[in-house]
């Protein structure tokens, strides 16, 4: 193995460089100049994102603890785009709210390191790497959630997150140890090779599963979600709801498929139960939410439930559909969160009723939110519809018609609450509607990116075909 083979870790290395660069700049720049760092950091990350799209070869490092395939590479790019949009959307917040506490570079450092953790987690080849990645992605997030250190909500959210996360990782570690005991190794290939169905293995699988399910916020491991989402700064909320959830889903999928094929029948049942539970819990709780962040939190829980339908399939088709759905989901959710953030950073209003009559004052924002919500609800011809439809196809192809039926019932329920903000924004007039404001250029770019994604991704079929090709190689 020569030095060039480290280029397999291109994403991670560049991220590391970024982090170090931010550290240096942090020291180098005067407090008054720190605001510049925002643009610099975003610019750098943009470059990173672009570089990410250059073709990368696949392979393994460190004796298999780090591996990368076309799909993993692609998925890292998806995460990058997501993070880029998040950065663009939270630039204003940083400039206006955070700058005065002089905590701008740390934000990027923490965010990037969390992303770094994700990347390692995604391309981990053994449980050790996986565990480190997991923690590396979680701990900075906790700090970020607590970022607004003068807000009690933020702190409370952080405590809830760290404690639950610690519990979750402890449980999943316990599970991993059992898998280690039965599989005789911490390397995925070897476990996959010599793992037999045994109660201990099943126990380990369930424990491990619950740990990851916690990050995906599947019921009943989802309780932290709403509170943390509400308390955290919106940028971080969207990061939690999109990036960390997405990465976790991806990892869960690849581990279940590649490491625990021996237990397929078992984990299918687990996933089945959890999927139905999650959909219903997410939707039923979302019905009555007033705070937009909580509302989106529950909706994202429900969405996670849908993703599991692809996992149930347990084959290439499932992988492709899930990845595609994640891609779509990134854009849709970020669109929604972006509007919420734009409004809250402008007016500080986060309640659904504050949105009344929004269309007549801020048509563009309202339209963006409409599209995002419809995409989440799965209305054609927006991307969300295709994402959901393919998930149904995946589930139906293994004759899980009941699951599909329950899913579509849930879609109907979800449509109800997705229409509530729409109702407020479009159907109703209000005298104290949010007055017209012109959001900053970065925010607008972020929203435009998201909306473009929503509009184009579904209809543009070559993308999906490309994902299919990639996912053919992973299993």
């Amino acid at each position: 193995m020569n030095i060039t083979s480290f280029l397999l870790m291109r994403h991670e290395i560049i991220l590391l460089v970024l982090i170090l660069a931010m550290l240096v700049l942090e020291v180098a720049t005067k407090p008054s100049q720190k605001k510049r760092l925002i643009n610099i950091a975003i610019g750098l990350f943009l470059i990173h994102t672009i570089i990410g799209f250059f073709p990368a070869e696949t392979g393994e490092l460190f004796g298999g603890s780090f591996r990368t395939t076309g799909l993993i590479h692609f998925f890292k790019n998806v995460l990058n785009i997501g993070v880029l949009i998040i950065l663009l959307q939270s630039a204003d917040w940083l400039r206006d709210k955070v700058a005065e506490y002089n905590k701008i570079p740390e934000f990027f450092i923490l965010l990037f390191s969390s992303l770094l953790g994700m990347n390692y987690m995604i391309s981990s080849g053994d449980f050790l790497m996986f565990y480190i990645g997991l923690e590396l992605s979680t701990l900075p997030l906790v700090a970020l959630v607590a970022y607004n250190s003068f807000s009690e909500k933020s702190t409370e959210a952080a405590i809830k997150l760290i404690l639950s996360a610690a519990l979750a990782s402890a449980v999943s570690l316990f599970g991993i140890s059992m898998l280690y005991a039965t599989g005789g190794s911490i390397f995925f290939e070897e476990i996959a090779a010599n793992l037999q169905t045994s109660n201990l293995a099943i126990l380990g699988m369930v424990f491990f599963f619950s740990g990851v399910a916690f990050k995906i916020s599947l019921a009943p491991f989802h309780f932290w979600t709403a509170d943390v989402y509400e308390g955290a700064p919106i940028g971080i909320t969207s990061y939690l709801s999109v990036i960390s959830k997405g990465a976790a889903v991806f990892v869960l999928m690849s581990i279940l498929f590649t490491v625990l094929p021996a237990l397929t029948d078992v984990w299918k049942n687990v996933v089945y139960i959890v999927a139905i539970l999650t959909m219903f819990v997410g939707n039923l709780f979302a019905l009555r939410q007033q705070n937009m962040k909580r509302f989106l939190a529950y909706s994202s829980i429900a969405q996670a439930g849908f993703m599991l339908m692809g996992i149930i399939h347990g084959g290439n088709l499932g992988v492709a559909t899930v990845v595609f759905f994640l891609l779509v989901y990134v854009f849709s959710n970020l669109g929604a969160f972006g509007v919420v953030q734009a409004i809250s950073s402008e007016t500080g209003k986060e309640n659904m009723d504050d949105y009344t009559g929004l269309y007549r004052t801020n048509p563009k924002l309202a339209l963006a939110l409409l599209l995002a919500l419809f995409s989440l609800a799965g209305i054609p011809p927006l991307a969300g519809f295709f994402g959901k439809f393919f998930l149904y196809m995946a589930a139906a192809s293994v004759k899980e018609y009941l699951l599909v039926f329950l899913a579509v019932v849930n879609v109907t329920i979800s449509l109800y609450y997705y229409l509530l903000p729409v109702r407020n924004m479009f159907l109703r007039k209000s005298d104290d509607a949010i007055p017209y404001f012109k959001s900053k250029s970065m925010m607008r770019t972020g929203l435009v990116l998201a909306v473009l994604g929503i509009l184009v991704l579904g209809l543009y079929s070559p993308l999906y075909n490309y994902i299919v090709e990639l996912s053919a190689s992973v299993l």
């Binding site: 906790v142 250190s149 610690a166 519990l167 402890a170 140890s177 005991a181 005789g184 509170d227």
Partner: protein, 105 residues
């Protein structure tokens, strides 16, 4: 490899520890104590890894390394948690769990 102590005793021990830790986590009202419970939980896994490595697969040291990493990460985790708890204390002058129940439903 401890003399005339089979793996079963040890695993039973760790399992007990696990549930003790869980119990602590669920019942204590003080955040610091809850952190200690978390530590307990993590340590069970540490012991597990070492024991399994030693008893079942003594030729490769995967488990041992794993346990070292766990300890390291646990330390970081605790540090972070403590700092946040301190922040909470600064805001509320209390580290009671009941301080963190404003957001619900």
């Amino acid at each position: 490899m401890i003399e005339n102590v089979s793996i079963y005793e040890l695993l039973t021990l760790t399992t007990l520890l696990f549930f003790i830790g869980l119990y602590g986590f669920l019942t204590r009202k003080n955040l610091i104590t809850m952190l200690m419970a978390i530590e307990l939980l993590l340590n069970t896994s540490v012991i597990n890894f070492v024991v399994i490595n030693k008893y079942l697969y003594p030729d490769v040291l995967q488990g041992v390394y794993f346990s070292i990493f766990i300890i390291a990460v646990a330390a970081a985790e605790t540090a972070l948690a403590i700092s946040i708890i301190i922040n909470l204390y600064r805001l509320k002058t209390s580290v009671d769990i009941s301080e963190t129940e404003t957001m619900k439903y």
